[in-house]
């Protein structure tokens, strides 16, 4: 068994506003091992984004504990590239923030970008790129800070279907070949099945883990190939039912 890198222990989080209080998660418990790709699906508004904010340490739980070993990189639904910076400068952003803007770190960030097909776009501005390319640049920016865990909040949902399949393929291969640990939030059941090693199904708000499945695709990690396998539709049916309980 590999090392545990993230652990939620009976995590409860309540939002307080003037109108009242909303419990977003309640006694949420799960863990994530090094090198694992875990997808989290759940009904909309159940507290998925909240879960990621907790994992990133942007919020403290009301009760329970979140333990993380290592750093994390957050990737959001929109690419959030800064339009006044070139792609290259966007990729340096986390280095600047973490005050690690050294020539070596910049070099390895640029190499990462070149390796994954962004060499022609380094001097372009974000609005000049297609949605898929921008999301790829956002992933490289996230990887540039060399995080131990990638937190992905519906990173494909702003893309059209065709682009989505392609970017999904890219992101999967990049994350697998960099051997990163990833926690992916998604609305899309087929996305979860085609990408993850393990799937967590959350309940309606307040979120708890209702079901947990380890997928049996063996060594096959390519989303397109997975979609062709017979298990794919079986898993789809199972998860679909569990989501709609």
């Amino acid at each position: 068994m590999k090392n545990e890198i993230l652990r939620f222990d009976n995590v409860t989080l309540t939002y307080h506003t003037k109108r009242g209080e909303t419990a977003a998660t309640e006694n949420l418990t799960f863990s994530l091992n090094e090198g694992e790709f875990v997808a989290v699906i759940g009904p909309s508004g159940c507290g998925k984004t909240t879960l990621l904010s907790l994992a990133a340490g942007l919020m403290k739980p009301s009760s329970g504990s979140v333990t993380r070993h290592g750093t994390c990189g957050y990737m959001l639904q929109k690419d959030e590239l800064f339009p006044w910076r070139t792609i290259e400068k966007n990729i340096y952003l986390p280095l600047e923030i973490k005050r690690q803007n050294t020539p070596e770190r910049r070099k390895s960030a640029v190499e990462l970008a070149k390796k994954y097909g962004l060499s022609d776009f380094l001097q372009s501005y974000p609005p000049q790129l297609s949605g898929g390319m921008r999301q790829r640049a956002a992933l490289i920016r996230t990887l540039a800070m060399e995080p131990d865990i990638l937190l992905l909040d519906e990173p494909f949902s702003a893309l059209d279907y065709q682009t989505r399949l392609n970017v999904c393929e890219d992101v999967s291969s990049i994350i697998r070949s960099e051997e990163k640990t990833a926690l992916l939030i998604t609305h899309d059941i087929s996305e979860a099945i085609s990408l993850a090693d393990r799937v967590l199904v959350l309940t309606k708000r307040p979120a708890r883990v209702a079901f947990e499945h380890t997928l049996d695709f063996g060594e096959e990690t390519r989303p397109i190939k997975r979609r062709e396998k017979p298990q794919f539709s079986a898993w789809f049916e199972i998860l679909w039912k569990e989501l709609n309980i």
Binding site: A56, L58, C72, G73, Y74, L76, Q77, K78, E80, F82, W84, L93, P94, E96, I97, K98, Y125, M145, L151
Partner: protein
């Protein structure tokens, strides 16, 4: 990089150029027409130049101001007051906006004061300003700052507060502190608003300085206008107003130029 364009594209470009030329021609045409009508109605005696002045009389007045050496003196006084007031209003306004952005508590506490100051007609403070600052240029600069600073503050605060939530979240997830968020995100994303604030404040600065000169002054274009009105020298009033138009337009053009420089820098 030179590129061969298709015939259709070259036609399109030529047409665009033609359109731009036409717009400029019409602009000058309208100006010439208005001046011509003005000159004509006074020359033919349909209107009394004593009440309406006329382009030729304005020219003469400006020439005589020039020859007795006071033209540039008055322009200089007003221009300096306006520019200093403008600069102080912009710098202080941005600084206050930053402070308000930084601290939610300060923002909430000061909100009613800002609302009242914004709504208050600044000219009501005229007598106070005379008593506090005397009748020199200081009083006029103060009035200019007063008129501009609230606009600058509110404009910039709006821009700072409108910073994209997703980008804020992204920076915070990278562990950015408030200063870094300010430096990397809030300030660069507010640059377009800064330019539009400058444009608005050019107008505010002239309102402030001329209003100030109406209340107290011994020199400047506002002084010439008030004096001209009192002694019924409409030529002087019109001349000073005309010069004012040119100066205000020139200052606005400088801001537009600055905008172009900034946009160009941001793109290279």
């Amino acid at each position: 990089m030179k590129k061969e364009f298709s015939l259709e594209h070259r036609r399109y470009l030529a047409k665009k150029k033609q359109n731009a030329a036409l717009v400029w021609a019409l602009r000058f045409g309208i100006l010439a027409l208005l001046l011509g009508i003005w000159e004509a109605v006074t020359a033919f005696g349909w209107a009394d130049p004593f009440l309406t002045s006329s382009p030729s009389r304005i020219c003469k007045t400006i020439m005589s101001l020039y020859s007795d050496g006071t033209l540039f003196y008055h322009i200089g006084v007003t221009l300096l007051e306006t520019l200093i007031g403008f600069a102080i209003a912009v710098v202080l306004g941005c600084a206050v906006a930053l402070l308000l952005w930084w601290s939610e508590t300060v923002r909430k506490v000061l909100e009613p004061y800002i609302v009242v100051l914004n709504a208050l007609p600044k000219i009501a403070l005229g007598p106070l300003i005379i008593i506090w600052f005397g009748t020199g240029s200081e009083a006029i600069v103060f009035m200019t700052v007063l008129v501009g600073i609230i606009v600058a503050t509110l404009h910039m605060l709006n821009a700072f507060m409108a910073t994209d939530g997703g980008k804020l979240l992204l920076l915070r997830s990278m562990g950015a502190g408030k200063l870094q968020i300010l430096q990397k995100l809030v300030i660069p994303s507010s640059l377009p608003s800064f330019i539009s604030m400058l444009k608005v404040n050019v107008g505010m600065a002239w309102i402030g300085s001329i209003m100030g000169e109406y209340i107290v002054s011994r020199a400047g274009l506002g002084y010439l206008i008030v004096y001209g009105g009192q002694v019924f020298k409409l030529d002087l009033v019109m001349s000073a107003t005309f010069i004012l138009c040119i100066l205000a337009a020139g200052m606005y053009a400088l801001v537009v130029l600055l905008e172009k420089v900034i946009v160009k820098n941001a793109e290279s």
